[in-house]
């Protein structure tokens, strides 16, 4: 986090003097705490989402994910900690000027039409969005031909699609999606994935809370894993998932073949299975080159299997405390 932001929090540097600095993080929070009665929901949570970055928030039910999101958006008052949204303190409503939000509990005025709901949110955001752009927004979520229908007649899935349109309509620079696919069919889930990727390509930051780890793994640059209200692990996917490995079953591997394997990475052997650890920043040519060279050395290659720990396995390992309780991987 840029020190300028921290200074803003303490009020040391006036905001006008920060105008010339590069854009601050889309989200920055530090030491967030929240208790509901005796229950600690969130305890000392800190993380940041850079501009244009997609951050996945993962964790079991009751981990405090939605509470964290609501604290970021000023919907829940934190007992402690600081939040900056797009460079402004979250206590200032203007911090939410360019923020789109799809709540986990999505519900919109049933007596309004889909188009009217978007009109309302455009008005509240004080952004000048032409009618054609609003229609495009509805079309993007597959509701183009339902624009004039009352929301009261929408299915849950359609209401969630409308919620996505609401989150996107006011030209956001940060989109917060809390379980955006909970009511969607598999096609809808793919749509959401494409949508997040499209936002990312346009430089819009996304904070994504989802139980669908596969989706998170596909679209997120970084992941924060929450457990019992605390950050249990965080980092980029490559950092979290560790080094990749490749397993090869080789026939007639001699010393020269083993030397070649070692050149690619740390080697372990079990019978005729050889496992080579690859660098996390491997550019994808190591394995094909290795196979080519082994064949060139007269080695018979029976099998080549990439070994990669999935985010799900890693998440389960963190939550089952099979890993150190808190780690900031490689940051």
């Amino acid at each position: 986090m840029a020190s300028a932001d921290a200074a803003t929090v303490r009020g040391v540097i006036p905001e006008t003097e920060l105008a010339g600095l590069p854009p601050s993080a889309a989200v920055w929070c530090s030491g967030l705490r929240k208790r509901y009665g005796r229950q600690t929901a969130v305890d000392d949570v800190s993380f940041a989402v850079a501009r244009g970055e997609v951050l996945g928030l993962l964790g079991p039910n009751g981990a405090g994910k939605t509470s964290v999101i609501k604290m970021l958006l000023g919907l829940v008052r934190p007992d402690g900690g600081e939040v900056l949204l797009l460079g402004r303190r979250s206590s200032d409503p203007r911090s939410r000027r360019a923020v789109g939000y799809l709540p986990e509990l999505f519900r919109y005025q049933p007596w309004l039409t889909a188009a009217e709901v978007l009109d309302l949110h455009v008005k509240l955001s004080r952004v000048d969005v032409p009618a054609a752009e609003r229609r495009e927004c509805l079309a993007l979520v597959g509701l183009a031909d339902r624009a004039g229908d009352r929301v009261g007649g929408f299915s849950k899935g359609m209401q969630q699609r409308l919620g996505l349109a609401v989150a996107l309509v006011a030209r956001p620079e940060l989109v917060v999606l809390d379980e955006p696919t909970s009511a969607l069919d598999p096609l809808g889930r793919v749509d959401v994935r494409d949508l997040v990727l499209s936002l990312k390509s346009r430089g819009v930051a996304v904070l994504l809370n989802s139980h669908l780890i596969g989706e998170v793994e596909r679209v997120c640059d970084r992941v924060v894993i929450l457990d019992k209200g605390r950050v249990a692990a965080s980092g980029t996917l490559a950092e979290l998932l560790g080094q990749r490995e490749v397993r090869l079953r080789l026939g007639t591997a001699d010393g020269r073949a083993e030397d070649r394997l070692r050149a690619a990475g740390a080697l372990t052997r079990s019978g005729d299975w050889f496992t080579v650890q690859l660098d996390a920043d491997d550019d994808g040519v190591t394995v094909p080159d290795l196979v080519r060279d082994l064949v060139g050395l007269g080695v018979r290659v029976h099998a080549v299997e990439p070994v990669r720990i999935s985010l799900e396995e890693r998440l389960l390992a963190v939550l089952r405390h099979e890993e150190p309780s808190h780690q900031e991987v490689g940051r």
């Binding site: 919907l75 007596w111 004080r126």
Partner: protein, 282 residues
């Protein structure tokens, strides 16, 4: 800007949820029935002989107050049950989440809702009340001494109650807020009647019940001011001493001090609602 947008939304909700239509039907039925009833007053044969036009005006004056009370009751119940879902209902359903995550101040959203409810409640009371006054004038020829003041006080009574309902709505559940608001409205009216009886009987202790309740919740005080503006001044003289016990006659107009108290009461309760809503986790 935010407040006006939210006020417009609140009015649109009232229209789209058919509250307006329900009230319109109810009011037209009430107006038609009262017009029919008033027409029967003139030339009515009683045990004491045919009612004179003066007597008919007196009775019309009393009945007008009774019907106005009916309108204020409809407005009270209507706005209280509209105000209930406004904060508590929207927070419970999740509707508040997407709105409050916009660059808006919660106090502006609250003010917008209050403004919308005020426009709706006052609009109803004034239009229905005016229609009733015109019906009475057409049928019996009675025109109240200060109709504008009376209607304004009825509107003020509605504002007091919906402000209370809004406060309750920010701290208790939807259903409870409506029920408590209407219950308190009824209890204050009954306390006012009890106080009137106490006054008629010369019992200061009982009379104080009405006075205290009028200070705690100004709905009954404002209602009595409205009645005074609607009733025929001769009515009090004709009824003679002890009229205070009669629930549809008011002895004296409102004092400026009481009006100022009502305004302060509204401001304080609104402020409490804003503080409560500001601190509420949604």
């Amino acid at each position: 800007m935010t407040a006006l947008t939210v006020a417009g939304l609140t009015l649109r909700e009232a229209a789209r949820r058919r509250v307006v239509w329900a009230l319109l039907v109810l009011t037209v039925v009430l107006l038609a029935l009262s017009g029919w009833g008033f027409s029967k007053l003139v030339g009515l044969d009683t045990d004491l002989g045919t009612m004179t036009s003066g007597e008919a005006r007196l009775v019309a004056s009393l009945l007008l107050n009774l019907i106005m009370f009916g309108f204020s009751l409809i407005a009270a119940i209507g706005t209280a049950f509209l105000a209930g879902p406004t904060v508590a209902g929207e927070v419970e359903s999740g509707q508040a989440l997407s709105i409050l995550a916009r660059p808006v101040r919660r106090s502006s959203v609250l003010f917008g809702k209050w403004l919308g409810l005020v426009a709706f409640g006052c609009g109803y009371v004034v239009l229905a009340g005016l229609a009733q006054i015109l019906v009475v004038r057409t049928v019996v020829g009675y025109w109240p001494p200060a109709p504008a003041r009376g209607l304004a006080l009825l509107a003020a009574e509605t504002i007091v109650l919906l402000t209370l309902a809004l406060l309750l709505s920010s701290v208790v559940s939807t259903m409870a807020s409506g029920i408590i608001a209407v219950g308190l409205f009824g209890a204050t009216w009954v306390a006012g009647v009890v106080g009137g009886i106490g006054g008629a009987l010369g019992n200061e202790g009982v009379e104080r019940v009405g006075t205290v309740s009028r200070v705690i919740l100004p709905t009954d005080g404002l209602w009595r001011g409205a009645m005074n503006a609607f009733q025929d001044p001769i009515a009090l003289v004709q009824m003679g001493p002890g009229e205070g016990g009669f629930p549809f006659l008011s002895e004296s107009p409102l004092t400026l001090a009481y009006l100022a108290w009502a305004v302060l009461w509204i401001a304080v309760v609104w402020g409490l609602t804003a503080v409560s809503f500001q601190r509420r986790d949604v």
